[in-house]
Subunit: 335 residues, 4 copies
């Protein structure tokens, strides 16, 4: 039996807590969330956890691992503390909106030697893994370039935007991560354009809602990304990997398997809406991987350093939009 | 230079005349249609033909072949006459609505030895030929069963229905032909149900608008057909051939290559509407085959005997609906 | 807290037991299966059930309902006994391979007044329900005809075939049920052809592997079914409902959302393989419906009488193949 | 009757000459091509043209228009001469590989007042027009961004590459044009990356085979382009236009309408291969538009100035790859 503590009783905390609780021989012992709410009580009851303060988690030697799914501004301190007391860590991205803090925390966690999985769930999605495996085993031939589309179903509320760190750090960071993951090498040039074309409130909050990004890798390969805060049909999350022998497309997953045909044509269902549903399998696999990491030390698909490197690209994209120029980056580059 | 005469200045006569005229070294010398109309004048001018009586065609030794695309009740006499004077024949189905006449004419044409192509254009469609070739060359493995859908975009006018010979002889005859063509053997049992579910006028004209047919072949393989006078999205003409190694589907061809996505989902274009457009390539290939038949004797894909055999199945389907029983047929069976 | 007992530790018993156990406030108290096996022990442990004899289940007043997922030859006796002692019943189809027994048991269960859900899971599938709802609420316009395809991925082992009751009672019974369900009326004529075209072992076991069925409803509407023990690409389970305003297609669900493009074209993933995976959502919904039935008396989507009526059609199909003739049925018809 | 002269007996000259010849009341009077070849003789015979020198065309007052489909290095002089003598002009892109020449010739043609259609055939394609019309009439809502993919089926021969002016001027120029056409405004910033990743011979010829381009329009909207000299599945030519109410996708057109299903999944046909086939309808429409331009003065969809503006973007892309920086352009910018 392994004992876990979950930080955060919001949407994504709910996903991770219930996934953990459904696994055999896993107990969600504690739930930590400073805000008293019905959601918190219900989640605690559902998974059989006690609602406690963070200090109690870190002081309890029976706790094997912590799941950090609380608000972004709490991540860094929780990571540091977990590393200090030696708890295995499952952490939602981003580590911090401040890049220097990300670097400090990453170093601290790595030095501590605690097992740590960064929750880039797309790496655990069966479709993305299929693509990755097929490229890795040579079936597809050398990967030549990548195109990614990430569009949210609708602009987020202004309050969310204001705390999000901006579209690159909040949304596009998953694409930056997948670019590195599939290419198997680092990005050296980032060019991004961004604008507020859809929702004026996003502009007033100082953010953009539409962006296009071009990445160049160390070996001279290219990635293009289209990022947007709205798609008229719902959540749009696709990838196209052009390899020498074949092209691999990760398509959207439809809500329904029913096709409707009338005088306007053949209508397929909109895609699953939204990431919680689209990546439900990935979230379960990710939690299983965390358990394996604790039990057997099996390497996670994404580490805290992967989080740092994806965020470095996000920082470069922010700078590129601000300056109108491409940004060259390397392991020493910081914003 | 080959000289042709075309009988019939209607929709399908227009297709065949213009296809013939567009071929190198082919001259559409005569157009025969008893009804004076703008369509007739325009077609004659377009292809450079003289409008004449049938007798002139058959008396003119420069005419190498005749295209019979006039009304069904004229086919038999034109076939007999063309066979008598030795003109190559391209004939639209059906030969006659009276099965005994079909038999008499078929025998006469065959005895005359004139080259004769029966216009089952589906056999000349690239998609159907692809399926046929892939089965014939063994790629697909043995053909085990067939499912076909034929639905018109909208019920035809009552006047058309009254002259059509009924849905089996008029529409389903193409499916009966394709069944024989792909199976490569004869049908021995026909069961059909039919009803007037869509357009009461069709029922008043003594016909059905919805039918389902089950065919059993000599070797015990099965075919199912769905035939209907309406599909809400337009013309529906599909085939599914289940073979031991793979399934082959002939799909509808979309009008446009544009997909539209909104909150209701992803909308593909309705199919081409209607057979004139869907089978435009087939009609051209069929006319080329007729020219090859005249020039080199190259065997046509469908003969007048194929017309007779398809119609025999249609007659059995009519009887099956009338009696509520399956009908066993053989080469001596007649209605 | 409701207490259930599950009969049968095989594939489908496993599905139902684990679905029940995952629901809040449901306890799978007993597992009954006469055959000692690792599967039985593991399932009992997984859901926390005791392995007991049937008698203990029926004698225990704390048991609220029984799930009958044992071998077909045990269903009738378990249904009779559960009805006698007043336990709510969830029963896998078929009730019995002997139609007279089905009638006797159905009458007994109905007379007893115990709540009883017959496990036609397709009625609980979100896609089939979407179709049903859209027809029921008038969106699609009147339903005019139905086409269904059910093909297994591969022929079952001979031992399975021998105990199955034959393809109509074992596999096609789901299609017969959906036909009644969507049409909302009874079937009055059944014509079926069947043959052993794929696997000679099935023929040696006295069964068929390929069948085509035509049903006519009381109001004169038609249904066509294609049933087969093999599809080259895996499990093929589709429906096409032609209505006056639109056509609704229940499509196969793909295994993966990855498209692969190379010189041979664009390749989409094979469908989910097999019914356990394809209908996993339906199985969960069905178990929830059973709990609702116990708790609130909410009517199930399928009753034991629906099982009887679907089986009546299956019996008529068997007779049609044997006689080569359509079979007219009514509420008094029996084989 | 209108008389035309066609310059160039190569692949595209063949398309335009035969399309012109197939139109009613159009005569292809002359064919001009300095290279004696079988192709030239056959084309002349097919369309009934005399093979003559350019001078004869310009001296013959019966010639109403010229079709310039000869090698790129001849375009400028032919345009100047046609403008001088007052012949209507149909001209293949590009006007010249030298931008200053493009400007000079454009000015000269415009000053002459001769009707002139620039052959950006994509504007005449029914699918692209459908998209354009649907945006223009307000159905789709405001256009927010565009993504385009253009990949050739296979790298061209080195000799072609050397004369082509490079991938941006030769291939991507169509995408630059469509960007302007759909946006309805000018491009002000161009960022491009390019590399030789596929075919070393292209690199030796000083060109690139893979490029990604980001365009920003005057009003701040974005366009992304993926351009490549190879796609593993054939010719890839797609567009995605995200508008406020819907997304419009111009898809590839399949070679066949047959789907093949086996254990590896469902395989759709590769796309039409290559532009001659994919845009055959567009080429016919374009020639009809040229005839309308001569006859009625109906404005063409693309003018010589559109050619100049698309090429300005191409020049900026070339510079961007060379400098690694985005290039700001305006109506006075030149390379």
């Amino acid at each position: 039996m392994l004992n876990l503590a979950v930080f955060g009783a919001g949407r994504i905390g709910h996903v991770h807590a219930t996934n953990a609780a459904s696994l055999p021989s896993i107990r969600v012992r504690y739930l930590v969330d400073p805000i008293e709410s019905e959601a918190r009580s219900e989640l605690a009851e559902k998974v059989g956890a006690d609602i406690v303060e963070a200090a109690q988690v870190f002081a309890d030697p029976s706790i094997n691992g912590v799941v950090i799914a609380s608000s972004t501004d709490t991540h860094a301190a929780l990571l540091i503390e977990a590393a200090r007391v030696g708890k295995a860590i499952f952490c939602e991205k981003p580590v911090s909106l401040d890049f220097a803090t990300v670097e400090t925390v990453t170093d601290a966690v790595e030095r501590s030697g605690v097992p740590c999985l960064l929750a880039f769930q797309r790496r655990y999605d069966p479709d993305f893994r299929f693509v990755r495996d097929r490229i890795s085993d040579g079936t597809s031939g050398p990967l030549e370039h990548i195109v990614m589309h990430t569009r949210d179903p609708a602009p987020p509320p202004r309050a969310y935007v204001e705390r999000s760190g901006g579209m690159f750090r909040d949304q596009a960071i998953h694409d930056f991560d997948i670019a590195r993951y599939l290419l198997g090498e680092e990005i050296v040039t980032v060019y991004a354009v961004g604008n507020c074309l859809i929702d004026p409130e996003i502009g007033e909050a100082g953010d953009i809602d539409t962006a296009m990004v071009t990445l160049t890798s160390a070996s001279g390969r290219f990635v293009q990304m289209i990022n947007c805060r709205r798609a008229p049909f719902g959540y749009d999350q696709r990838l196209e990997a052009l390899c020498a022998h074949e092209v691999l497309y990760v398509e959207n997953r439809p809500q329904r398997g029913v096709l409707i045909a009338d005088a306007d044509g053949f209508r397929a269902s909109p895609p699953m809406n939204y990431f919680i549903e689209r990546f439900s399998t990935a979230y379960r696999a990710e939690m299983s991987a965390f358990i394996d990491l604790i039990r057997t030390g099996a390497e996670p698909l994404a580490t805290i350093r992967d989080g740092l490197e994806a965020q470095r690209i996000a920082e470069a994209a922010v700078k590129s939009v601000a300056t109108g120029l491409p940004v060259r980056i390397g392991s020493n580059w910081r914003p």
